[in-house]
């Protein structure tokens, strides 16, 4: 589904609301195995993006995503800032590169399914960039443990509800993991039994986006 300015603006607003709603919950998750600020950090980031939403949503999608990433990096700080920032900046850059390549070779427009495949490929690259930034990988009990399965679902053309459900379960699945990255890793065994706050915020945002796509999808 192509995103126009109204979609993007609406999505920014919805993501901000979602984080606001779960701000305390994210803080509490982070208190248990980190330093308790993940909710406040994410809120600060989403508020900054929200303040710029008018300027952002009129940009072409790749530029808009890259801009969102930069705003997140420059406002969140902590671990979450560079990670979410890298994700969106790389997504934007990847899409821009794809558009450029597509335009150069362009014989015909891509159909929706091809576009999805393409997007999944770009996302895969972006997720890899996040992993490189965090020097981390699957099973480390981080937001990557949501990003990897979400990307995989997308690559297999799952429906939005399916992807949302996958994100939710993936976040919950971090509960039993032993943290090997971020502040939670200082707890060693004691990190087991608590859901990772970054995975949780990542699932919330994924679910919000999927929900929007489901609602907007031509039925």
């Amino acid at each position: 589904m192509p995103l126009d300015a109204a979609d993007l603006s609406a999505l920014i607003g919805l993501c901000r609301e979602e984080i606001e709603l779960h701000c305390e919950h994210l803080g509490r998750l982070d208190s248990a195995i980190g330093d308790g600020d993940h909710g406040a950090n994410m809120r600060r980031g989403l508020e900054a993006v929200y303040r710029e939403r008018d300027a952002i949503s009129v940009l072409p999608l790749p530029a808009a995503l890259e801009r969102i990433g930069l705003v997140l990096v420059m406002s969140i700080g902590g671990a979450a800032g560079p990670l979410y920032g890298t994700l969106l900046m790389e997504l934007g850059r990847g899409l821009a590169a794809r558009d450029l390549a597509a335009r150069e070779l362009a014989v015909r427009e891509l159909d929706a399914r091809e576009e999805e495949t393409d997007f999944a490929a770009v996302l895969a690259v972006a997720v890899t960039a996040v992993a490189r930034r965090g020097r981390s990988g699957p099973g480390d009990k981080t937001l990557l443990d949501v990003l990897y399965p979400v990307q995989a679902e997308l690559a297999s053309h799952a429906a939005p509800v399916r992807i949302a459900e996958c994100a939710r379960l993936a976040a919950r699945g971090t509960e039993m993991m032993l943290a090997r990255r971020g502040r939670a890793s200082y707890l060693g065994e004691r990190s087991i039994g608590h859901e990772d706050p970054g995975a949780s915020s990542c699932a919330l945002l994924t679910m919000t986006i999927c929900h929007y796509f489901k609602e907007q999808a031509p039925s």
Binding site: G27, D37, M74, G77, A80, G134, R181, Y186
Partner: protein
């Protein structure tokens, strides 16, 4: 802030403004108040820049001045500063010899400083020294290395003095990395941290409990145990420190007893005295000792012991003159 309630978003900025106003002969705000810097820079000297989340004061801003830091970037409470702050600090304080970044080893700090360094790679020569002195976490436990805690001030002092003396970027990097095996710290919390946003503690300790191996972000420590007497606490802190320090012949031991923010001087000096006694039994007599509140975790009650086995040259750098809001000699 934590107890003195104030809107969490503006509290850090207000506190920084109060700090700068109290020390305006030494420091000033950088562009858009994104960082704090020395009032007067030394052209041709490597700019030594550090930073981290707020809540650790006087680290880092209290160490800006002749013989130590050129600039420090402060993030929100317990949150690394953002790359734009670090970029602004580099742009304003690099007088030609490049920038040395001193970064505590937390994923957030490392990533934000790293992004800033990548973004500025075209216009600054940059080296980074990662501080990882926390004896609570050996590299075996965590492949990403130890946390940076109170030992950070030792690294900042030595690198600051060396930069003042005219050391170049490569020399400073080598000095910082050479120190890492001989610098260890270990902390204990006796009461958790009250976060500014809410009056909740990050980890709640009963009156008869203590948390050993804590860091400086209100995160829980290595293990929790019953409240012990001062002698026992000192033993629990010093043993891992001694076990992890690489031995050095002709070492000049430097001892720092650091309060976490909620522990008063009378207790720190008591712990200092017991620590000296413990070290003496292990054949170590500090060449210098520093006791006070230097690297805090908001109002956490507790303290850390830092031991650095310095070479004679490093010790000379420690003793070299310094004029900052916190250290003057």
């Amino acid at each position: 802030m934590t107890r003195i309630l104030h809107a969490a978003e503006t509290a850090v900025a207000q506190s920084l403004a109060g700090f700068v106003a109290a020390h305006e002969e030494l420091v000033t705000f950088g562009r858009d108040d994104k960082f704090v810097r020395r009032r007067t820079l030394s052209p041709g000297k490597v700019a030594v820049i550090s930073g981290g989340g707020a809540g650790h004061e006087p680290l880092h801003c209290g160490f800006i001045g002749v013989g130590m830091l050129d600039a420090a970037c402060t993030g929100h409470v317990f949150t690394s500063p953002t790359p734009d702050q670090i970029l602004a600090a580099m742009d304003e304080t690099d007088t030609g010899a490049g920038c040395l970044l001193v970064v505590k080893n937390y994923d957030g700090d490392v990533m934000n400083f790293e992004m800033a360094a990548e973004m500025a790679a075209d216009r600054h020569r940059i080296e980074t020294v990662i501080v990882e002195d926390d004896a609570a976490y050996g590299p075996s436990v965590r492949s990403r290395g130890r946390r940076g805690v109170a030992g950070t001030m030792v690294v900042e002092k030595l690198l600051g003095a060396a930069a003042e003396r005219g050391e170049d970027l490569a020399g400073l990097k080598a000095l910082g990395e050479g120190l890492s095996g001989r610098l260890r710290s270990m902390g204990v919390a006796l009461r958790g941290v009250t976060l500014p946003d809410n009056t909740r503690e990050t980890f709640a300790l009963g009156p008869d409990e203590m948390e050993i191996g804590v860091g400086i972000h209100g995160e829980p420590g290595l293990y929790r145990t019953g409240r012990a007497g001062a002698d026992e606490i000192v033993r629990l802190l010093c043993e891992p420190v001694l076990a992890q320090l690489s031995p050095l012949t002709d070492a000049r031991p430097l001892l720092i007893v650091n309060g976490f923010g909620g522990t008063p001087p009378i207790e720190l000096h008591l712990a200092h005295n017991l620590t000296r006694a413990f070290l003496r039994q292990h054949g170590i007599v500090p060449a210098r000792a520093l006791v006070g509140t230097f690297v805090t975790s908001l109002d956490m009650a507790g303290l850390s012991v830092t031991l650095a086995l310095l070479t004679p040259e490093e010790f000379a750098l420690w003793c070299a003159p310094v004029t900052t809001p916190t250290l003057v000699w």
